[in-house]
């Protein structure tokens, strides 16, 4: 451990970023799905800052009830306050908490990192919402939570607006699902919020192309007709998804695990899907094309859905780092390319980008 740490420190030398900590995470038996996501989230700086802030505010709570949020805040604080710059930390309490909260992650089986991320973010949102409503009901000593309260204020009075927590502020975007009835041509638009986008993938394609397909027009017909309120019947319709409000942190999940009907099981798609280090969302309804920069990639290693390993690539202060449980190494930016996938179905390369984390660049108008 120490040796690995010093190697990284040596590699970075004078360039070791001030105040930054690069710590590997111990694996408690197939917890790499958790470790890889934690590293990506830790290096999601706006998220980390909020979490550290939360820890500071809630260090000595009256009732020291432990939940996933406090455990995560605890872990992040533990990492960021290490005296040493590099090393290994055991996220024991956090992992125990995860296993307590969700039986899915209780066993020692290989788990899906995206499912875990989804569970974690939603859990954090729940906890924050609960705390917020509790704070509103009772005491006034928690100004921070009120500050994170509803964006539109309480003008609506009785009508309860959904809370916008800092998790939302970081990850939430809004999709508009437009459906046009092909008979009466009425367009029904429905907004949906999302914390990440799950994209279907194709062999030898790019994220840009996958996003385009995601927003492309789809015809609903045959078995799949649309119930038009105006026509009061099932009709053929055209449906498309548009990004109405792009999120600050854009999380893209590549659907690499596909259910193959005639096999009766899931199969891993090792397709080569290239992802640029900078990305723009074109099909948004906002005026400006919002630009994003890639800062983390959760990589699935292995050939099947039920086994394998997760590692993560993280960009911190313009250096790329490779986190593999306890180990942290520096990698060249160009090495990110080796995680795109395989152009051929059978290939020795089994390390494939699975979840991509992009942060919106601040110089863009929003």
């Amino acid at each position: 451990m120490g040796a690995a740490g010093s190697k990284l420190e040596k590699a970075l030398g004078d360039h070791f970023p001030e105040g930054e900590r690069y710590f590997g995470l111990e694996n408690f038996g197939n917890t790499c799905y958790c470790n890889s996501v934690l590293q990506a989230l830790y290096f999601c700086v706006p998220f980390r800052e909020k979490l550290l802030e939360y820890y500071e505010k809630n260090k000595n709570p009256a009732d020291p009830e432990e939940n996933l949020l406090t455990c995560l805040a605890d872990l992040f604080t533990q990492i960021s306050s290490q005296k040493k710059k590099t090393g290994v930390i055991a996220p024991k309490r956090f992992v125990q908490r995860v296993r307590k909260e969700n039986e899915l992650f209780r066993g020692y089986m290989h788990q899906d990192a995206h499912e875990f991320l989804n569970f974690l973010l939603n859990e954090l949102v729940d906890i924050l919402e609960k705390e917020c409503s509790a704070a509103k009901d009772g005491s006034e000593n928690s100004s921070e939570k009120v500050a994170n309260g509803p964006r539109n204020g309480l003008a609506n009075g009785v009508q309860k607006e959904p809370l916008v927590t800092w998790v939302h502020k970081n990850f939430q975007g809004i999709l508009t699902n437009e459906t046009k009835c092909l008979r009466c041509e009425t367009v029904t638009a429905r907004d949906e919020t999302f914390l990440d986008l799950s994209l279907d993938i194709e062999q030898n394609s790019s994220i840009t192309s996958c996003l385009k397909n995601f927003s492309s027009t789809e015809t609903l017909n045959a078995e799949d007709k649309f119930f038009c309120d105006k026509c009061c019947s099932l009709q053929e319709a055209q449906k498309r998804m548009k990004i109405k409000k792009p999120p600050h942190i854009l999380v893209i999940h590549l659907k690499r695990f596909k259910y193959i009907e005639n096999l009766g099981r899931y199969k891993k798609l090792s397709y080569r899907v290239v992802f640029p280090l900078e990305l723009k969302l074109t099909n948004t309804m906002e005026d400006a094309d919002s630009e994003y920069s890639l800062f983390a990639v959760v990589v699935h290693v292995g050939t099947g859905p039920n086994h394998g390993h997760y590692v993560s690539l993280v960009k911190s202060h313009n250096h790329w780092l490779f986190f593999d449980d306890e180990n942290v190494d520096m990698i060249d930016e160009a090495a990110v390319q080796t995680f795109f996938g395989s152009a051929q179905e059978y290939s020795s390369n089994s390390e494939h980008g699975y979840i991509l984390f992009y942060e919106r660049l601040s110089n863009e108008t929003s």
């Binding site: 394609s205 900078e278 152009a343």
Partner: protein
């Protein structure tokens, strides 16, 4: 684009005869594609023995260089010459060969446009070679002429004979310490040492050799090479692109992955290392000259942070286009060492670039899946080609294509260009300024609302120390082009594209090259000298009016 036949490769009569040379385990790949001017048929494939493992130094992407070997002896043929007159006499010979004045001009920059694109330029001077050396092994007294391709796979550089349908390379050269990653050929090579092939390595080392000399040797080592930047002593980052300076008397430019490129001159002692001043501000452009005028390299240009991905000289050699990781196209006045103009991609790195034959337009392609058309006159992006489903890895204008209705007024100039991408597709595009649908332009935020033609042209020749770089345009502001043809070439991502007079060459990353016959070309690309002379009656650069 493709016709309605089944997924299985449709075997045309032409291709059946060639199938010996074509191994197609890939289903769903057609061996022809249709364009308005006719059908392009797969003529042959050039590949490498796949049983060998080439990855002793890691993988690298295959690039292709086209080489046109002329008659051997300098004194016996009019196409070569000695000493200083080399360039001009080659040019005039070519002009004669091509039968047009444009031809001479075209030839003068041959082989200089950056690694491969340029090579496309090389080809235009040659009708596809002769078959004098059909598929034979290198011979000690090798005196072949004609067209050859050079491509890199792993630690090996292969030379394939384009004069035959032979699939296997006629020569392979192993590099012991590092992978060859880029190469370019200069048919105007100085006759003195005949070094016409430039090879850049992953280690940063650069070699110049005589292609003919390699073909004369049966070994697997580079013969008679001159090495530059030995052991990366000047720059140890990867070579990314090479270019012979047009009419540069053997001078060449080597771009590296750290955002610098170096100018080397021939005949200077490569063993004396040049020392350059430190780069004070890596975010700024700077040019440093070697302190000693005996050493090599003679100059270092610091372009950008991150890698330079491709460099290409304009046909007349006055301008140098540089594209790279930071997503910018930069165009420099090479002699004045000044930035003329440039701009940012929509997003992501730019991976390739190529000039039009008349030097008016630059194509770029990159990680935004777009083919970008840059106008030198407007100094901005004038069109985006949408059609690739992944990154664009190779672009080139087709210098041999002529518009269907020869509107000889010269008012409406049409261009044909091609692009290949990691989506395994070859796309062909037609482009004419007149047909661009320009979206209503809003005032760009923070910029001047219009480009005034007057101020533009006055700025054009002015000695302003540095030009300006345009920010990335908005999607809605740029006119869009749609491809004329989309053809899936391989099951692997493509890496390179070359137009020759009779063919289009496409290469995939793993080092397989396909040769597509143009419609109306003879069944064989190997033409003897008679057909050669007759075919030269075609105007080589129809879009150059």
């Amino acid at each position: 684009m493709n016709n309605s036949s089944t997924n299985a490769s449709t075997t045309s009569t032409t291709s059946t005869t060639i199938n010996g040379g074509i191994s197609t385990p890939n289903t769903g790949l057609k061996n022809y594609f249709k364009t308005p001017e006719g059908r392009y048929n797969l003529h042959s494939e050039k590949s490498h023995p796949s049983t060998l493992l080439h990855f002793s130094h890691g993988k690298s992407v295959s690039q292709v260089t086209l080489a046109n070997l002329k008659e051997k002896s300098a004194s016996t043929t009019p196409t070569s010459s000695s000493g200083y007159s080399a360039t001009s006499s080659v040019r005039s010979a070519a002009a004669k060969l091509l039968g047009t004045s444009n031809g001479g001009r075209a030839l003068s920059f041959v082989g200089v446009n950056g690694a491969n694109k340029v090579v496309a330029a090389t080809t235009k001077t040659a009708s596809i070679g002769n078959s004098s050396n059909g598929g034979s092994l290198p011979m000690a007294n090798f005196d072949g002429k004609g067209l050859y391709i050079i491509f890199n796979v792993g630690d090996t550089l292969y030379i394939g004979d384009l004069n035959t349908q032979e699939k296997d390379p006629i020569k392979s050269i192993n590099f012991a310490n590092s992978n060859p990653v880029c190469h370019t050929f200069n048919p105007e090579a100085n006759a003195k040492d005949g070094h016409d092939l430039l090879i850049g390595l992953n280690s940063g080392e650069v070699y110049t050799v005589s292609l003919r000399q390699q073909l004369q040797d049966i070994g697997k080592k580079l013969i008679g090479a001159q090495v530059y930047n030995k052991d990366g002593s000047i720059n140890n980052s990867r070579c990314t692109s090479l270019a012979w300076v047009p009419q540069g008397n053997g001078a060449f430019v080597v771009a590296h992955a750290d955002g610098n490129f170096y100018v080397y001159e021939k005949g200077k002692d490569a063993t004396i290392d040049s020392s350059f001043s430190l780069i004070k501000d890596p975010t700024h452009f700077s040019v440093a000259h070697a302190k000693s005028n005996k050493s090599n390299p003679v100059a270092r240009w610091h372009i950008c942070q991150g890698s330079i991905n491709r460099i290409a000289f304009s046909p007349d050699g006055t301008h140098l286009a540089v594209v790279g990781r930071d997503g910018f196209l930069r165009v420099y006045d090479y002699q004045k060492e000044q930035l003329l103009c440039g701009g940012k991609s929509y997003y992501g790195a730019i991976l390739c670039c190529a000039w039009s034959m008349d030097g008016k337009y630059i194509l770029t392609g990159g990680e935004d899946d777009l083919v970008q058309v840059w106008s030198m006159e407007d100094r901005k992006v004038i069109a985006w080609g949408e059609g690739h489903n992944s990154w664009v890895s190779g672009v080139a204008f087709d210098p041999y294509w002529s518009p269907p209705s020869s509107d000889s007024t010269g008012e409406n100039v049409m261009y044909r260009f091609g692009s290949v991408g990691q989506d395994t597709q070859l796309l062909l595009w037609d482009f004419s300024m007149d047909e661009l649908v320009v979206p209503l332009r809003r005032c760009p935020p923070g910029g001047s609302p219009t480009y005034s033609a007057g101020s533009q042209s006055s700025q054009w020749d002015s000695a302003v120390p540095s030009g300006t770089l345009q920010p990335a345009p908005c999607m809605r502001d740029v006119p869009k082009l749609s491809p004329l043809v989309a053809h899936r070439v391989y099951s692997e991502p493509l890496s390179d594209l070359i137009f020759t007079q009779h063919t289009i060459l496409t290469a995939c990353r793993e080092g397989h090259v396909k040769v597509w016959m143009r419609p109306g070309s003879s069944e064989s690309i190997s033409t003897d000298s008679e057909t050669l002379s007759s075919s030269t009656e075609k105007t080589p650069i129809p879009n150059c009016k």
